[in-house]
């Protein structure tokens, strides 16, 4: 932007004239050696105008000071990158119009129809912008829960690890957000998430750890569990890996989302998962797909080596090791024995082998395993 001085009659300029003069302003915004030289010389030649000139300079500085709010509307580097990525992604989907299409465009009738549909599209888009879907549950929670929040966003394609001030650890999955209060841990431990995260919560019975995730509120003391609550997904899923959690529906999204005691909480045990349908508002409690060993600390896992062992004690081992409920008819299965080594098998494989060898079948209803058998016939 090179300087081009319009030959003004600066002799008669007062303060305001200077302040609005293109060359004068440009000099103050982006001084160059040339402009500096020009105004230095000018001031030497017009000593009487010095006062007005400097007053004008001060006024420009004052105006800039007053516009501070504007210049401080600062785009964060993170947002700048996200936006750039989005733009470049759109560009790769660019469609080059074919020659045939250009020919069609010459038809005036086609053009007027196209113009009409374009106008309609604009109206629809405009309407969609104006009536954009209401603020997400996540954003609502943030405004209600925290006066000033710290937000972690995982915009990468890998899982991110976030350590909270109480040393609880959160594995934040891609496209997920986690917010917590500036004074997290002082009174309570409340976090708000959108997306998917696994929580490894440090035990602190005095300060329950509370997770807001869309319509669900999960309250724990010290456990490991996973929450999936994407803004645009149809379900909210909570899976317990160890410990136990209680979950209730957050009735009042707009008001203070305080966990009230009159709400019926669902208790979730390890290897159980709760799915909440956002559309029908129904809960569905079941076993996770791949149950893992869940033993209280310092308890050695069962050997899973069996030599003519009563099947009831085999089931008991499974129940303690995986924290599942197995329901069966005790008297029918009396006398059923198992000889097998199941230490390397997964939960599912163990169950299959056991049932096959005693001639039983099983089904999973809710979070329970129901064994059906006619008894052992040998």
């Amino acid at each position: 932007m090179d300087l081009k001085f319009v030959l003004h009659d600066y002799e008669n300029f007062n303060t305001s004239d200077f302040v609005v003069d293109d060359a004068f302003i440009r000099h103050h915004l982006f001084p160059t050696r040339k402009s500096q030289h020009y105004w230095d010389a000018w001031l030497v030649r017009h000593p009487l105008k010095k006062k007005e000139w400097y007053r004008a300079k001060e006024l420009i500085e004052a105006v800039q000071l007053g516009l501070n709010d504007y210049t401080r509307t600062y785009l964060s580097e993170k947002d700048e990158e996200i936006l750039l990525k989005r733009i470049l992604t759109t560009n790769t989907q660019e469609i080059t119009p074919s020659a045939q299409l250009v020919y069609v465009w010459k038809n005036p009738w086609v053009r007027s129809v196209a113009a009409a549909s374009l106008l309609l599209t604009c109206l629809v888009i405009g309407y969609m912008y104006l009536t954009r879907r209401t603020v997400s549950a996540y954003n609502q929670h943030n405004t209600v829960l925290f006066s000033s929040a710290i937000e972690k966003t995982n915009a990468t394609s890998a899982v991110d690890t976030v350590e909270l001030p109480d040393h609880s650890v959160v594995l934040l999955y891609p496209q997920s957000h986690l917010s917590y209060s500036n004074d997290f841990g002082k009174i309570n431990r409340t976090v708000n998430i959108s997306g998917k995260a696994v929580f490894d919560v440090v035990r602190d019975p005095d300060k329950p750890f509370i997770v807001y995730a869309n319509e669900l509120v999960t309250k724990v003391l010290g456990t490991r569990f996973e929450v999936q609550a994407y803004d645009d997904s149809r379900e909210v899923v909570v899976k317990v890996i160890s410990g136990q959690v209680s979950i209730f529906k957050n009735k009042n999204l707009l008001g203070a989302p305080a966990p009230s005691t009159d709400q019926r909480a669902m208790l979730l045990m390890p290897n159980q998962q709760l799915t909440f349908s956002r559309q029908t508002e129904e809960f569905n409690k079941k076993l996770v797909e791949v149950p893992l060993l869940v033993l209280p600390p310092k308890t050695p896992p069962p050997s899973f080596d069996y030599e003519e062992t009563e099947v009831a004690s085999v089931f008991a081992d499974l129940e303690t090791a995986y924290g599942v409920d197995i329901i069966y008819n005790k008297s029918l299965l009396e006398g059923c024995q198992l000889t097998a080594s199941l230490s390397n098998e997964t939960y599912q494989e163990k169950l299959n082998i056991i049932c096959k060898s005693i001639g039983a079948t099983y089904e999973i209803i809710d979070a329970h395993i129901i064994i059906s058998s006619n008894g052992c016939t040998f």
Binding site: L67, L75, E80, G126
Partner: protein, 184 residues
């Protein structure tokens, strides 16, 4: 700030499909576009992001047919404002019952402002000027931002506000005159 020649060469490189030049142009101007956009539509950051996105993707799509702008910053701010107004379906009204100048004159009530300025010992200078600027009409405020922060000349301000050059200059002049008398 890069010189005009460099900026125009950059533009031509982008037109020939150089993605790096395109990205550089984005980085040089997106902050100004963002703050200008946010000053026009403070209620929705997401909307401003969408509009900036649309401006840049359209540039890419039409790159071969574009001319080289004299002032890229101005060109981008103008495109952004056009996009925002287009989406809001709220075109600048051409026929106002009052002329622009009359309209701006109606805005402030100096008596209350005078009173408020004299009680200003408690406030620092920045707060004071900010409050004074808040008293100006939205168009005057926009003109001040464009003139003293974005370094747009009067022709460019005129284009952004859909008025003629002389009106743009008057708009800034009156705003500054007011601020000057209030601050004396």
């Amino acid at each position: 700030m890069i010189g005009q020649l460099g900026e125009q060469q950059m533009w031509e490189a982008f037109q020939s499909g150089d993605e790096e030049a395109y990205t550089t142009i984005y980085r040089l101007h997106v902050k100004a576009m963002y703050r200008y956009g946010m000053s026009l539509v403070p209620v929705s950051e997401a909307f401003v992001f969408d509009c900036i996105h649309d401006v840049f993707t359209e540039l890419w799509l039409k790159r071969k047919r574009l001319t080289v702008p004299d002032n890229v910053r101005f060109y981008l701010l103008k495109s952004l404002k056009v996009r925002i107004l287009h989406l809001l379906k709220r075109k600048e009204r051409v026929h106002l019952p009052l002329s622009e100048e009359d309209y701006d004159e109606l805005w402030s009530e100096p008596s209350s402002v005078d009173h408020f300025v004299f009680n200003e010992e408690l406030y620092n200078r920045q707060d004071l000027v900010r409050k004074l600027i808040d008293q100006l009409s939205p168009r005057q405020q926009e003109a001040l931002r464009l003139r003293y922060e974005e370094n747009m000349d009067y022709g460019e301000i005129a284009s952004l506000l859909s008025i003629n050059r002389q009106s743009a200059q008057n708009l800034v002049f009156r705003a500054v005159e007011k601020l000057r008398t209030w601050m004396l």
